[in-house]
């Protein structure tokens, strides 16, 4: 249980307005799993395993790639949904998971990161942002958990580029390469084979393309489009899209 002492850390972020809706309070049987409400069909972001997010660290930069389809059961809502958020000038947050949780949680983190920067006059370091994100996931875990998996990439002047793997149950690892979703089986294998530290931008994008090709050809319901974003000393920005299906206009038929 989260005790009061755990909350009194050196600097506390103000819990600015959370956009959680009130849960319906119909009577439930009390059970030992009651508080940590992962309901049976809400495993690791059920059906959200089709969402692929992967990333890697190169020479002075980090890349995060994510698919761009927003899917609900058998329906594809849109295929240009941007899942890699630019957290601040030098950080990227690629997220996959329950659609509502993904947007609400990542925006909440983004606003708190901005608040820190206004309060203190300097931006948060990547490691600090990753630990804050993980802390918020951990706090919510045994109350009202978020089903979001996150890859946080950032560039700091003193540390260089770094990538953090943050799980939906608040695992935190600093990694050179990481991936989420069914696509991770293919992406991680390709990266294990071809990745080496200090890759140049061309090599890294080439590796990302190899991963995307694998995902497209081997995953049964493969997402057609991907977005690639990069963060380096010049900041966080979109690098490229890889589209195999453009949203067709009416006249296309």
């Amino acid at each position: 249980m989260c005790s009061k002492s755990q909350r009194s850390v050196a600097f506390r972020f103000h819990r600015i307005l959370r956009r959680t809706t009130n849960r319906p309070c119909f009577p439930r049987l009390r059970s030992s799993f009651d508080t940590a409400a992962f309901f049976p069909d809400r495993r690791e972001g059920s059906k959200k395993e089709m969402e692929c997010v992967f990333g890697l660290v190169g020479d002075g930069f980090a890349l995060v790639a994510a698919d761009t389809s927003a899917v609900h059961s058998i329906l594809v809502h849109k295929s240009n949904e941007d899942k890699v958020m630019i957290l601040d000038s030098h950080k990227l947050l690629g997220a996959s998971g329950e659609a509502g949780d993904r947007v609400q949680f990542t925006e909440y983190i983004q606003k708190n990161v901005h608040l820190y920067e206004f309060r203190n006059g300097i931006p948060l370091a990547t490691a600090a942002a990753a630990n804050f994100t993980r802390g918020e996931l951990a706090l919510a875990l045994r109350k009202n958990p978020y089903s979001v998996n996150i890859l946080l990439a950032g560039y700091d002047k003193d540390v260089g580029a770094s990538l953090y793997y943050i799980d939906y149950i608040a695992t935190l690892h600093k990694v050179d390469k990481g991936a989420f979703g069914y696509g991770s089986y293919f992406a991680l294998s390709m990266m294990d084979r071809h990745y080496h530290s200090g890759m140049s931008l061309e090599e890294a994008v080439d590796l990302v393309d190899k991963c995307i090709i694998e995902i497209r050809s081997r995953l049964v319901v493969a997402p057609p489009n991907f977005v690639i974003k990069i963060v380096d000393k010049d900041g966080a920005r979109e690098y490229a899209w890889r589209e195999s299906i453009k949203d067709a206009g009416v006249s296309a038929a």
């Binding site: 103000h14 956009r19 606003k111 708190n112 206004f118």
Partner: protein, 257 residues
């Protein structure tokens, strides 16, 4: 009269809230601050002088004074300067910054200058109507650009919780003289002219020099930019040169006659 000024929750028989009026006194003792709105720029200026604490070694004090920023940004497009109790200012500024982010989170839009001014004024008013608390002892000058129309704005709030929009205004020490100067000399300006007007106003009441004045310029493209001492000194030199030229021009015709 003395019976009605102990608590904020007590009106005097002639309708005054003495605690609020005393808070305004605290503002009048604070550092001078001026705000000027131009067509494409808004400028905030504050006086950097403060009475030194008796025991602090002079060098340390100088370091402290030179590193304390009196003009703060609330969001990328909004800045604030204040006169009065600086400790109270920290509380208000913190709440305002949170509100700026909170607004962005819930409404996905940046705040307008008027919204955040209304929020800060509302906070100040809350503390004039509660038991056991005292009003915030500061007036704020809030500047910024409307995020969509790009129109610049300058607002002022005071301890009573009222706020209003201005083309130019001053608060704090000697604010009356600064206001008189502005009433005589204000005209629609843009860019560097707005900065010069703000500095000229401050120079009426402050010792001349970059180390006694802090200036921040807010533009639509670049947001808040603090001018450094060298820049301020350069502009002050320009102003003094202009003044000298004006003096010389006044004297010259009388020589001819």
């Amino acid at each position: 009269m003395a019976r009605y000024d102990r608590a904020i929750t007590v009106f005097s028989p002639d309708g005054h809230l003495f605690q609020v009026e005393y808070a305004l006194e605290a503002v009048r003792k604070g550092n001078a601050a001026v705000g000027v709105r131009g067509t494409d720029t808004v400028v905030l200026g504050v006086e950097k002088k403060s009475t030194p604490a008796p025991r602090l070694p002079v060098l340390l004090l100088h370091l402290l004074l030179s590193s304390v920023r009196k003009i703060v940004s609330l969001d990328t497009h909004i800045a604030l300067a204040c006169a009065g109790l600086k400790a109270d200012a920290r509380v208000l500024i913190n709440r305002a910054r949170i509100e700026c982010q909170s607004h962005r989170l819930t409404v996905e839009d940046p705040v307008t200058v008027e919204y955040i001014t209304r929020y800060i004024a509302g906070l100040q008013q809350k503390y004039t109507q509660s038991g056991g608390v005292r009003p915030f002892g500061l007036s704020t000058l809030i500047v910024g650009f409307d995020p969509y129309t790009g129109v610049p704005a300058l607002y002022q709030t005071d301890p009573s919780g009222t706020f209003s929009a201005w083309k130019a205004n001053a608060t704090g020490r000697n604010s009356n003289s600064m206001r008189e100067f502005l009433e005589k000399n204000y005209k629609e300006t843009s860019g560097q002219e707005t900065v010069k007007l703000a500095i000229r106003t401050l120079l009426e009441v402050v010792e001349s020099g970059g180390k006694n004045i802090e200036i921040a310029v807010v533009t639509k493209e670049h947001g808040l930019r603090q001018l450094d001492e060298a820049e301020i000194d350069a502009i002050v030199a320009e102003i003094e040169a202009e003044k000298a030229a004006a003096e010389a021009a006044k004297k010259a015709p009388s020589k001819d006659t």
